[in-house]
């Protein structure tokens, strides 16, 4: 049986599934339920400075987009950091951590970009016995207008500065949570590392308007006829998050910096994918908000079963395994030739592959009597669109052509050797192969 035990920058948890700092982790009641359900750790919803608590809107906070059967694919929110009293939160954190010593308890913090503010709150957090802190440099709405959250995360110098303060005034691990609302994620990650961060976590939510009410002309969620961009999350953002994670994992400057993966993790499989891209653990929010805390049971059993099947004894056995395979386009093997292949036994003759290829691609699928759909190898560029639109899993596959075979589309022999764009004759800046 695979060991799901997680050791993330020295913070131990029975599994790598943490709840992200978000509405589900705002108070003791929810967090206790989460731990009872089996979550390995919790990042407590972001605390602000002592004083009057922040206020939230009193209208709707969430907007959503849906797939078929109203499956929630993306959620955005305009909720701010905790709107409860700082000391109430601190007392609850201390109590819960004492009762669940084996679980990871991280405290998310967002205070003004002033040393005094951080100096004031960090000892209070230290006193709770929590295992570490996460710096909220990502919240894209509301707090960013006040110079916090994403407003900090978009300025690498601020990240470095605040991280340094935290390392100075706090003894335990410091995780820096990054905003994706930035052009190059490698810069803030490098800044966090330079400031002494023990890890980064990403992504925070993405600026978004999920829908517009066509009757009232207000963005949703609508507060008295007006809307503000929210932070987008859920399954829809996973590809963006994984790309950003991989950038940090493979960038020489930040390679090896521990990463807590966040962004659309919904199933064990999503979690495993983030881990292969270098993450030491994952944080989850939208999936829990959609289905409740019980989903962690599937995540635990699924990851465990897959690890057993693959012979991975621990998370470390496969962590980062996909990182070496993430490369730049220019290094992709242009001598690799594939063709789509339709399994006629599995085909249900819907013709979606045909419509997609005929209308929008390369006219490489034929439709014949009796609704038989076949790939025309002479035209197929292996774009994969047919695979993507086919409703039947594994019905259409991409089959690599063996070296030595002739590609009927180009008339050229498939070369056995690797060759990429950097040496391609069509590349005006090509250098001779070594």
């Amino acid at each position: 049986m695979a060991n799901l035990q997680s050791d993330f920058v020295g913070i131990k948890s029975p599994n790598p599934f943490w709840l992200a700092s978000a509405p589900p982790t705002d108070k003791e009641y929810n967090v206790r339920r989460a731990f009872e359900a089996g979550w390995g750790g919790v990042v407590w919803k972001t605390l602000g400075s002592e004083g009057p608590p922040v206020v939230n809107v009193n209208g709707p906070r969430y907007g959503a987009i849906y797939g078929a059967d109203r499956r929630l694919l993306g959620l955005n929110n305009i909720e701010l950091i905790t709107d409860r009293d700082l000391y109430t939160n601190l007392e609850e954190i201390k109590r819960v951590k004492a009762d669940y010593p084996d679980r990871a308890m991280i405290v998310s913090i967002m205070v003004p970009c002033e040393e005094e503010a951080w100096k004031a709150i960090l000892p209070l957090v230290e006193d709770t016995g929590a295992d570490g802190i996460e710096l909220n440099f990502g919240c894209p709405h509301g707090m960013s207008e006040r110079g916090m959250g994403a407003a900090v995360g978009q300025v690498p110098e601020y990240i470095e500065m605040v991280t340094r303060w935290c390392k100075q005034y706090y003894s335990k691990p410091v995780i820096v949570k990054l905003t994706p609302n930035i052009t190059d994620i490698r810069k803030p990650a490098a800044a966090a590392k330079a400031g002494g961060a023990d890890a980064v976590s990403l992504i925070n939510t993405i600026n978004s308007i999920t829908s517009v009410n066509l009757d009232t002309m207000s963005p949703e969620p609508s507060i008295d006829g007006k809307g503000s961009h929210g932070g987008y999350c859920g399954p829809a953002v996973k590809p963006i998050a994984m790309s950003m994670v991989s950038e940090i994992a493979r960038n020489p400057e930040t390679h090896g910096l521990p990463i807590s993966g966040i962004g659309g993790v919904t199933t064990w499989r999503d979690a495993a994918e983030f881990i292969t891209l270098g993450c030491g653990n994952v944080q989850v929010c939208t999936a829990a908000m959609t289905y409740g805390f019980k989903i962690v049971q599937e995540m635990i059993s699924g990851l465990s079963e897959w690890m057993d099947e693959k012979g991975h004894a621990s998370i470390e056995d496969f962590r980062g395994a996909a990182v070496p395979n993430v490369t730049d386009w220019q290094y992709l093997n242009l001598n690799y030739v594939a063709k789509a292949k339709i399994n006629q036994d599995l085909c249900i003759s819907c013709g979606r592959c045909f419509a997609a290829c005929e209308d929008t691609s390369h006219q490489a699928i034929s439709m014949s009597e009796g609704r038989v759909f076949e790939v025309i190898d002479d035209e197929c560029v292996a774009c994969n669109l047919c695979v993507n639109v086919c409703p039947v899993e594994d019905c259409i596959t991409m089959e690599a052509m063996a070296p030595g075979a002739v590609d009927p589309r180009t008339g050229k022999v498939v070369e056995p050797d690797y060759a990429n764009w950097t040496t391609h004759p069509n590349n005006p800046t090509a250098t001779a192969a070594e």
């Binding site: 249900i348 003759s349 013709g351 979606r352 045909f354 419509a355 609704r371």
Partner: protein, 440 residues
């Protein structure tokens, strides 16, 4: 309730009021908005979709389902009704399991097709409930067309002609329009007066006059119609029924299934409708099933559907056979009636078992029967009709008959499967051909 299912003979009021109401309620209750969205989400929007090919009226099914899924059921209804003006009735009575839903790729994938029929009903009901008619007439052409028969073929033809700007007079032998929709289909498939409501809605196009109680051959002649109109469409259906030519076949209690169904459809009070304790229906088509199931639902204790061949040869679809079985109808196969016994009224019907090739076995069986319903085929009635072929009006192309200026479609004409939906398609196509001919 003075009688019960056990009361002998033919009796009314075998059930209590609640049972009648429940038995004759909607066979497939309408989808609500949420159910419709869930069902619509399952459509794959196939290319050149096989469901369209399978639909005799070529409704663009993936398009209308996508329109439902995106919150525009009225646009979906227009997609449906532009191809099939009786899309509401067809949604209720079409044997979808042998048409669009059989062809649905999800039937191949999972054995569970998209609920095309019920989605079609959702869309058409949504539009029709608002009382709006989405089509308008083209400029008046000054041409007039006579349509014989206010059933699905005739009304479909009349609507399309009216839409194209022609004036249409529909002649019908019955006091109400609708044809088999009104008189010949099981009540639980079209409850709550839907048939009449659909006709009323259809006529909102304008330009259509219905002349009731005007039967072709007795009240009007084809020659007169031709003289008075620029074109004639015959959609008179099959008015006659095949006789049961066996000893005792004329005993009291031996009825035509179509009359039994028509009486039921027109009954104001189902409790007043007499039905036998032991009912035997002879035949294997939709009419036989409709009659058998309704006899059971009226409170008959034992209902037997007797068919001369195996179940695989029955015209009634597997769904209809299963429906009959689920209601408690016993299906006897490989039997042909040889005699109806009784003393004045029928008491028993005697069958001979026959081999699959219809050869005699010599084995006889008697089945108790207070009522025998004949559903052994209908025939075309009428004199001075265009040339016939195998008992129906011979047509070529879009319903052209042997007589210039006379078209025909629906059950009275050759071709098609004698379904409501094929009648609608034939009426529509004939209208287009008539239009081309008149305006040519």
């Amino acid at each position: 309730m003075t009688q019960s299912p056990f009361s002998p003979g033919v009796a009314a009021g075998r059930l209590d009021d609640a049972s009648y109401a429940e038995n004759f309620s909607d066979l497939h209750p309408a989808l609500d908005a949420h159910e419709a969205l869930v069902a619509a989400d399952r459509c794959y929007f196939c290319h050149d979709a096989p469901c369209i090919t399978a639909c005799p009226t070529d409704i663009d099914i993936p398009l209308f389902i996508r329109q439902i899924a995106t919150g525009t059921p009225d646009a979906a209804a227009k997609t449906i009704l532009s191809q099939n003006i009786m899309g509401g009735m067809c949604a209720r009575v079409c044997p979808t399991e042998t048409l669009c839903e059989e062809a649905c790729v999800r039937e191949a994938a999972e054995g569970k097709p998209v609920l095309i029929g019920q989605l079609q009903r959702f869309a058409t009901d949504h539009l029709q409930a608002q009382g709006v008619h989405p089509f308008s007439r083209a400029a008046v052409t000054g041409k007039t067309v006579a349509v014989v028969g206010a059933g699905p073929a005739g009304l479909s033809c009349a609507h399309r002609l009216a839409m194209l700007g022609h004036e249409v007079t529909v002649y019908d032998a019955r006091p109400k329009p609708g044809g088999l929709n009104e008189y010949g289909i099981a009540a639980y498939k079209t409850p709550e007066g839907f048939a009449q409501a659909e006709v009323d809605w259809l006529l909102k196009i304008g330009g259509i006059t219905i002349a009731h109680d005007r039967a072709l051959g007795t009240d009007v002649t084809l020659a007169t119609l031709q003289a008075e109109h620029d074109a004639v469409f015959l959609g008179l259906g099959l008015g006659g029924v095949n006789a049961l030519e066996v000893e005792g076949g004329d005993r009291d209690g031996v009825l035509d299934a179509v009359d039994f169904i028509a009486d039921l459809r027109q009954a104001g009070d189902l409790a007043a409708l007499p039905v036998g304790r032991d009912v035997v229906v002879i035949g294997g088509g939709m009419t036989a099933v409709d009659a058998a199931v309704q006899a059971k639902l009226l409170g008959a204790l034992n209902v037997t559907l007797a068919y001369r061949r195996g179940r695989d040869r029955m015209n009634a679809s597997v769904f209809e056979q299963d429906l009959a079985a689920s209601k408690g109808v016993r299906i006897m196969t490989h039997v042909v009636p040889v005699a109806v016994h009784g003393n004045g009224s029928v008491r028993e019907i005697e069958f001979e078992y026959v081999n699959p090739d219809m050869s005699s076995t010599g084995e006889l069986v008697r089945v108790p029967a207070d009522q025998v319903l004949r559903a052994i085929g209908q025939t075309l009635e009428g004199a001075d009709l265009p040339a016939l072929e195998r008992g129906k009006i011979a047509v070529t192309g879009a319903g052209r008959t042997s007589v210039d200026g006379v078209w025909a479609g629906g059950d009275c004409a050759t071709g098609g499967d004698d379904l409501t939906v094929t009648a609608v398609a034939e009426g529509r196509d004939a209208a287009m051909d008539i239009h081309a001919s008149l305006m040519g």
